[in-house]
Amino acid sequence: MALLKRLIDWIDVRIGARDIAAKELTGYLLPRNINTWYSMGSILLFIFAMQVVTGILLLIYYVPDADKAFKSVTFIMNEVPFGWLIRMCHAVGSNMMVLVLLFHMISVLFMNSYKSPREMNWLTGFILFTMVQGISLTGYLLPWSQLSFWATTVATNSANAIPVVGPYLVEFLRGGKLVGPPTLGRFFALHVALIPAGIAALVGAHLFLLQRTGVSTPPFGLKDTANRWQGDGYRYESHPGGIPFFPNYALEDLRSIFIYLACFLAVVYFDPYLFFTRDSFLPANPLQTPAHIKPEWYFLANYQTLKIFPSEFIGLAVQGAGMTFLALLPFIDRTTERHPLKRPLFMICAIGGIMLWIGLSVWGHYS
């Protein structure tokens, strides 16, 4: 212990570590009515770190070559010590990341925390959501399985619906007329370098914005739930008399992370094939189309929307309009009230929207 103290002292006199800890940890106060939903961001950070670590471990044996990719994944799953565990953690983790991200966004939505001055927090979060979808989609191709190949074939084909530039875009995405080795190279680069770097940068921006605006106060259990910020000047939302982030809320975060890990490991060990179909374990065969190609669960609503409309372009435009509306929600919803129960129209729209998304996903699954 004396050695540890000496080490901390050594660092402290050089960079003022105790000052930083006092300001950002023990002195960083959070609202007294903070709830468990505020832990979603910490869980997401933990998942992202796990994805990076398992991804790096997979890179040791994975070969991004169309002739060798499937075999290398099979090797990881069967020959590498604990390779199956690392791969399953990575694959299940990607699905969990989308799921927890949805919970995080829904909690922010219902607590109206996206309202000014937090427009940029919402927007960076929304872009992060699209990037997580992007990293999941590009990762899908890498095992070079039947599912990877055909799901990517139909997914890249989607760009054809964009007027004028569509066909050129498809060729650009695929690196040729058809999905093939150049597509794998492109998706690999996007998956392991470009998108993770983008996500890391945006996570940094998201945390910076959080640090600058302060943590929002949940609207529950308060008499006055109106947003008092007028936009007349910079304001940091401090919480005098609040609970310290460390150790109090850090322990709550830790508890949430352990509960998440229990759920995550239960899936990994007891039902790891929840997110896989049989085609996920067959090598890609460009000459044999699987009977039914369905996207991942989080794309099912988009998939079904495209099928509802008579033209693919209309389906795309409707989704585009819906998503643009969501992305720009803080700029559209300028009301000051933050308690969802005092906003019946908002509640109807939000719950209706979630039900519609679930309904479309279920329909897409069974269609």
């Binding site: 872009i127 989609l137 084909n157 990994v268 060990y269 996920s280 693919e312 992305a327």
Partner: protein
């Protein structure tokens, strides 16, 4: 800022999902024949439920022709063979099933070819050819030509082995669907199954019984490998239970520790 942000989001979000409904084109044989009524269209429906369809073996693999050019699809110049006459059927199928052809020709069935004896399609049917199994040897089929008695004796002798092969095949397929490298197991079972299937065209009861016993010995070795996989899965579940319990305990510990700071 708003416009570029929306365009970026629109592009990033929608690009991966559109047009999942698009289906790749089928070969011209199926495109035309599937829409035709009666006898000309029926083979397509039958073929779709066959083992050939399951393995991607389409019309042109047997009948020749050009599956990509509708105008010349059935041109002899492009190798179109059409349907074989009855005595030519074994040779037609035997282009791929070489070993089976040899067994068949050596059997009583094969020796009766052209003299009223059965051909491949008599027992296996033509377009709706399914995975060979002992079910093929049944009273309805065999009694088309002779009594079922002898065939039944042979079938009973092979029943146990067949049941073992079918059960193992299912287990291996299930493991394959979980990402297990089943190549070795599949190859092993394929070899044993082929050896076993050579007996299908044999009508010597004594030989069938003797060979079946030897085949069962080989199957036992494959079964041991499947058992090892079962054991490793069981161990993983035990490890999983420990890991999940540990996480829940840690969550409880963090919760109780947090309470001490209230």
């Amino acid at each position: 800022m708003h416009l570029s942000g929306s365009l970026l989001i629109l592009f990033a979000l929608l690009l991966p999902v559109a047009s999942f409904a698009a289906e790749p084109a089928e070969i011209v044989c199926i495109q035309c024949h599937a829409t035709m009524p009666g006898k000309i269209g029926e083979p397509v429906k039958l073929w779709k439920g066959s083992i050939h369809a399951e393995n991607g073996i389409a019309c042109n693999a047997c009948h020749g022709g050009d599956p990509k050019d509708a105008a010349n699809a059935m041109s002899p110049a492009r190798g179109f063979l059409g349907a074989p006459k009855e005595p030519a059927i074994p040779a037609f199928c035997g282009r791929c099933h070489v070993g089976v052809l040899k067994d068949y020709l050596a059997s009583a069935h094969g020796r009766a070819l052209g003299k009223g004896g059965p051909t491949c399609v008599t027992c296996h049917s033509n377009h709706l050819v399914v995975k060979a199994s002992l079910e093929i040897i049944n009273e309805k089929r065999c009694s088309q030509c002779h009594s079922f008695e002898r065939a039944k004796t042979i079938r009973d002798a092979m029943q146990e082995t067949e049941a073992m092969i079918v059960a193992m095949d299912k287990r291996i397929a299930a493991y394959k669907g979980e990402g297990v490298d089943t190549e070795g197991l599949e190859k092993g079972l394929f070899a044993v199954r082929n050896r076993f299937h050579t007996l299908f065209h044999n009508v010597d009861v004594g030989m069938v019984k003797k060979e079946s016993a030897g085949i069962q010995g080989d199957l036992k070795k494959i079964q041991d490998q499947i058992k090892a996989l079962d054991d490793s899965r069981q161990q993983r579940k035990i490890a999983g239970a420990v890991a999940v319990s540990a996480m829940l305990l840690l969550a409880l510990f963090a919760h109780l520790l947090r309470k001490t700071f209230d």
